[in-house]
């Protein structure tokens, strides 16, 4: 019986050779369509100016140059853009991870009256599209002089209902024995959270970390609205606005785009499963 099932399983998903060939053709064609823009971006970033503007366009540069990567730092305040993106993404991610996990810990592991109501109320805030609060937030930050500042960019983003939700789902599934034992030994709640629950939650923390970092590194509308000068822009907003003013500086723009894309692509190569876990989790748990 077991063996029969095993044979079935082995056969399942096997497909005939002609169909397999067709599927590979489709996969490869689609893969090329997906990858080509990035390949062209990369190659163009190493082209000299005249080769950027030849028609028909060259895929691979005939004369390789790193000029675009050098000029970026003087033609744009590129160092500022990188710095701002790093400060913006890392401080939001770390603050949000701390506050989200604290809140999730309370919702998942502590008994108190109104716990379910609070959980539902936090979920409910996710229903409201960010565009609704954008105008009042801008107005409030304007009133207290936080427009075009790091605190204006960062503080409103220091917690995320979505992060709370994901971490809470994970914390609920941790066995309770360890925690009870620690509690009987007289450990305080913060110690239990910090020394027992967090260390057991490595994968969940990594998943939410990557989720927050990817979201904020790539974010566009919020930094576009809150920053006013090129010195305060992040990479996506700074590059997009540079393009608005210098429409055809394609060599420079492709070099900037490559550098903006690189950190997450590298992170993905090393931690693919956490990226996938974060997305998959959102899809299956709700």
């Amino acid at each position: 019986m077991n063996r029969a099932a095993g044979i079935h399983r082995a056969r399942r998903g096997e497909i005939a050779a002609p169909a397999r060939l067709l599927l590979y053709v489709l996969l490869i064609v689609t893969a090329l369509a997906v990858a080509m823009p990035f390949v062209i971006m990369l190659f163009t970033s190493f082209k000299i100016r005249s080769e950027v503007f030849t028609f028909p366009p060259l895929l691979i540069p005939q004369t390789w140059t790193t000029d675009n990567y050098v000029l970026l730092w003087s033609r744009l305040p590129f160092a500022k853009l990188v710095r701002n993106s790093l400060i913006y993404s890392f401080s939001i991610t770390l603050a949000s991870l701390l506050f989200d996990s604290m809140c999730a810990y309370a919702l998942a592991r502590l008994n108190f009256r109104g716990r379910n109501v609070m959980f539902i109320a936090i979920l409910a805030t996710m229903m409201v599209p960010a565009q609704v609060t954008l105008v009042p937030l801008f107005f409030n930050l304007f009133e207290i002089g936080w427009i075009n500042t790091f605190q204006g960019l960062i503080v409103p983003r220091m917690t995320s209902a979505f992060g709370i939700f994901l971490l809470r789902q994970f914390f609920v599934s941790i066995p309770i024995d360890l925690e009870d034992a620690a509690r009987i030994d007289g450990a305080g709640e913060f110690r239990i959270y910090w020394q027992i629950v967090l260390p057991l939650s490595g994968p969940a923390i990594a998943t939410v970390f990557i989720f927050h970092f990817m979201y904020n590194w790539n974010d566009f509308l919020w930094p576009l609205i809150i920053t006013m000068t090129q010195e305060m822009r992040t990479l996506p907003t700074g590059l997009a606005l540079f393009m608005g003013d210098h429409n055809i500086e394609y060599g420079l723009l492709m070099a900037g785009a490559t550098l903006a894309a690189l950190p997450l692509i590298i992170a993905f190569l090393f931690a693919q499963r956490y990226f996938v876990a974060g997305i998959a989790l959102t899809g299956t748990k709700e």
Binding site: I15, V34, M102, A106, T133, F138, G244, A280, G283
Partner: protein, 305 residues
Amino acid sequence: MAQAHMPAGAGRTRRPLVSAQARAAWLFMAPSLLLLIAFVVIPIFQAAWMALHDWELADLNPAFIGVKNFVDLMDDGRFWNALRNTAVYAVGVVPGQILLALFFAVVLNLRLRGRVFFRGLFFLPVLVSFAVEAIVWRYLLDPDIGFVAYYSRLAGLPHIQWLRDPDYAMTAVILISIWRWFGFNLVILLAGLQGISQSYYEAAEVDGANNVQQFWQITLPLLRPSLLFALVNAVIAALQAFDQIYVLTRGGPMFSTETIVAYIYRQGFTNFDMGYASAAALVLFLLIFVVTIAQLRLLRYQEVP
């Protein structure tokens, strides 16, 4: 609930612990709750308040005008144009990305060499800022020196100015957005497929069902929660489209790609007409709410077989 994991008879002695836990719980939640109240809850009410005023930035004494902003919106041809553009965008981009994702999720769930490679590659556009990708696409679509113009000429296709042609700009935006988003849905659907127990398929094979029958009778019904999530999520994202449009076209040419959020941005942050922008944002909220509820109802989220 509170005593679920306590040994019998221990309730009395452990009782004070519960209130200590309650105090700890509120302290643990305090940072998140304060932030959410200050930066989400209060601004929602402010948006409603602002929408009832003629409110310019730095206006010391905004005039209360009741529902006039909403009445004006209903009379605003450019707002209706934005609604129509958003609907066209959603109708193009949602089925496009979901069907493509479903197809490749099923394919990558088969025993094929290189499935992890292809999944990773299809996910690549999700990793990079859409605004940055839009910069690359503007280069590719440049009618004078771009790769798209060159290769479509080689293939004998008509020369289209894509982003500069009001008849084609939205098509370009939709295709680029499908390119960007289908890998995201692919990962959701693939996770859903991998959660379906093999035993269903084994039973179906014993009954002599072929692959197509298995897809309709087993895969689709059991994939419904993931599919519905992907769908609802894609629709919400489509109704909020902004980043790629700002970079690709700024809503043009001739307002042909101006979506609701692009219009809110223009009113709120270019014209600083904050009351009017808030009213438009609330209409968007209502629209998203109604469309989401309608999808959940129509597709019966609760009834999972």
